[in-house]
């Protein structure tokens, strides 16, 4: 029975990671679509989200089945409960990738904004964060999880910088406010993706320590005040 459960946990981990890989790939592709102004690729990302949604449901069912069947306790319980949470974060990351894909599709049809925004750099950073967050989950490594938490501050700073740039641009170019707002949304989605990666890392720390970090610090600082929350 015990060995059976361990095996089931391993399979669950693998399924979870496989979903994570899909989200990571979607995020990466959406950023490529944005950088290369590739409408086909953006459409592909938007289409592919269904697969991730399927995956999410499967992982969730798996978790519930494990809880009902084996009634795990302590560390194992924390693990399964955390997978449920990470699963929904991964699903949301997929949605964020779709949103970025939609913005990329829109912006690809417009003339490029004459603002020097380092989306590729921030984008790579976010992709790295998610990659590392998934790795911290595989290895259950608090070291890697903590690295992710540190990286989040950087992305937040970059987000604030981009916002400032865009606000300044809009002041002088009222004719392109629409495009600038879309770009701003894009930056916000990226920042949210970074937050989701951070959530995953925090969940990993919870598996390891049993302490909930979520409400200990205010990560959403970076969101500008007039942005309504979710």
């Amino acid at each position: 029975m015990e060995r059976h459960f361990t095996r089931e946990l391993e399979l669950l981990k693998r399924d979870m990671l496989s979903a994570g890989a899909l989200a990571l790939s979607a995020l990466r592709k959406s950023l490529t679509a944005l950088a290369k102004r590739d409408i086909d690729l953006a459409n592909q990302v938007i289409e592919a989200d269904r697969v991730l949604d399927d995956r999410e449901m499967r992982v969730e069912e798996e978790c519930l089945k494990l809880l009902a069947l084996y009634q795990p306790v302590a560390g194992d319980l924390r693990f399964v409960a955390s997978v449920i949470k990470i699963n929904s974060m991964v699903e949301r990351l997929g949605d964020i990738a779709v949103n970025i894909g939609r913005r990329a599709r829109y912006l690809a049809k417009r003339a490029p904004l004459p603002v020097d925004i380092d989306f590729p750099v921030v984008g790579n950073r976010v992709v790295d964060m998610l990659d590392k967050a998934l790795q911290s989950f595989v290895e259950l490594s608090s070291e890697k999880a903590n690295e992710v938490l540190k990286m989040d501050a950087e992305v937040d700073a970059a987000y604030r910088r981009i916002n400032k740039q865009l606000i300044e641009f809009m002041t002088y170019h009222p004719d392109r406010v629409e495009d600038a707002v879309q770009t701003m949304n894009l930056a916000r989605h990226l920042e949210r993706a970074a937050d989701r990666a951070t959530d995953i890392a925090e969940q990993v720390l919870y598996i390891l320590s049993g302490t909930i970090l979520r409400h200990h610090k205010d990560r959403d600082d970076a969101a500008i005040p007039e942005e309504p929350k979710k």
Partner: protein
């Protein structure tokens, strides 16, 4: 007979033992406590027995020692000491055994060295091939990973080995492939996108299942081939075909339109006929020039043409080209100046190609320079390098366009370039010629002030 020394020794041991037995037995038989007379006989017999015992022991020792030495050596060998050998014992059976042992250990040594050499050979090849190589054991864990794979995947061997691959590669394609692995028996191929060291790479991953006849377990070899460069070239070729088609289509459309209009009755209109025919001719000329330039480019790129280079004096070559343009420059009111190099700038060049490159530069310079402007063509030699410089006081090139002017079909202003009869290939040809001669090109410009183009060539 003397080779059988061990036999003799064993015989001696037995003989001595027999003497002991005889001595003890007769001493016991003869011992009569009542008769003191036999005491000395008994003593002699006991003495004989003791001597026999001692002799027997030493004789046994001579057999035991050499065998013990062989045993020790065998033990060392078993422990892995391939240098284990027995020192010379002598010409008897144990000596033969020791010899045989030494031969065996020597052969083992050479065989192992051979195997080790072969293993190292394979390991070196595996480690150093440019493709990434991974070996997965039946449990799907990484058993081996070479350097290229570590570099491509951006993970160290220590992180990869002994763990399932899906734990380290967050790529949906890899997850899928590994899930499929138990079901496939043909090599499978997936395209993956990697971002090792922040650099986006495209790779092809080929997984080949390996059936082990002996245990029926399935291992797999993963080959990761970096195809980033191929893809880039592929894309370039596709872009080129698209560009060429587009460029050819424009003049063709004009020719067709004018010809059709003429056929539809415009040829009866005296005022329209001539200008229309002129348009047809000028567009045909453009097509001809375009095709010639495209052929030039493809010839320069494939590099198949007989590359007849000879040592030439570039002063003379450039002077001739400048001469060809003097009339046109004068007509436009542009001053065309030539400054030859002080020392004779000699280089190995294909003079036809080089002339075309310089022509293209001067042609551009005159085209984009207004009346009363200057085009200065200068040659310089320094540090074994020849610089052909064409500087104008024309309209200049914006900074963001400057890095792209050598690209095929790139034009700062499409309409203007067409109006001047440009194909968009001139500078690209210049760059190709320079590269083919082991040189390079440079461009500097300031909007409104003028542009300077340089061909840098190694001197002969």
């Amino acid at each position: 007979m003397f080779r059988r020394r061990l036999l003799w020794r064993l015989f001696a041991i037995n003989a001595a033992a027999f003497a002991v037995f005889l001595g003890v037995a007769s001493a016991w038989l003869l011992s009569d406590p009542r008769q003191g007379g036999t005491g000395s006989i008994v003593a002699a017999l006991v003495g004989m027995a003791v001597l026999g015992l001692i002799a027997s022991f030493f004789a046994a020792l001579t057999v035991y020692r050499p065998i013990e030495r062989v045993r020790r050596a065998a033990e060392d060998l078993a422990k892995g000491d391939l240098n284990a050998r027995v020192d010379t014992i002598g010409p008897d059976e144990v000596g033969d055994l020791a010899e045989a042992f030494n031969t065996m250990s020597r052969q083992l040594r050479t065989r192992m060295a051979e195997l080790e050499g072969r293993r190292r050979e394979v390991a070196t090849i595996m480690e150093n091939i440019s493709e990434g190589l991974l070996l997965l054991n039946p449990a799907g864990e990484v058993a081996l990973v070479n350097r290229a794979a570590q570099k491509l995947l951006g993970r160290r061997a220590a992180d990869l080995v002994g763990k399932p691959l899906w734990q380290n590669l967050h790529l949906p394609e890899v997850h899928e492939m590994i899930a499929e692995l138990p079901k496939i028996d043909e090599p499978a191929r997936v395209r993956i996108e990697l971002a090792a060291a922040g650099e986006a790479r495209v790779a092809e991953m080929v997984v080949t299942p390996l059936f082990e006849i002996s245990d029926g377990e399935k291992r797999a070899v993963l080959l990761i081939i970096d195809v980033t460069e191929d893809r880039r070239l592929d894309q370039m070729r596709r872009d080129f075909v698209a560009d060429v088609s587009h460029e050819l289509k424009t003049p063709l459309t004009s020719i067709k339109a004018y010809a059709e209009t003429l056929l539809d009755g415009a040829d009866q209109d005296e005022g329209a006929r001539r200008p229309f025919l002129e348009k047809i001719v000028s567009n045909s000329n453009r097509l001809t020039k375009l095709v010639a330039d495209i052929l030039d480019i493809s010839r320069l790129e494939t590099g198949r043409k007989d590359d007849s280079r000879e040592r030439s004096d570039l002063n003379a070559l450039v002077r001739r080209v400048v001469g060809e343009f003097s009339e046109r420059a004068a007509k436009k009111g542009v001053t065309l100046a030539f400054e030859p190099a002080a020392a004779a700038p000699e280089a190995y060049v294909n003079s036809e190609d080089m002339r075309e490159a310089v022509e293209n530069l001067i042609d551009n310079a005159i085209n984009y320079t207004a009346e009363k402007g200057t085009v200065r063509v200068a040659l310089k030699v320094a540090d074994g390098r020849i610089t052909v410089e064409v500087a104008d006081t024309g309209i200049g090139i914006p900074a963001d366009a400057l890095p792209r002017v050598f690209e095929r079909f790139y034009r700062v202003d499409r309409a203007r370039s067409r109006a001047m009869g440009g194909t968009g290939l001139g500078l690209s040809i210049v760059k190709h010629v320079a590269l083919r001669h082991g040189g390079n090109v440079e461009a500097a410009s300031e909007v409104g002030k003028g542009s300077t183009f340089r061909i840098l060539l190694p001197a002969a």
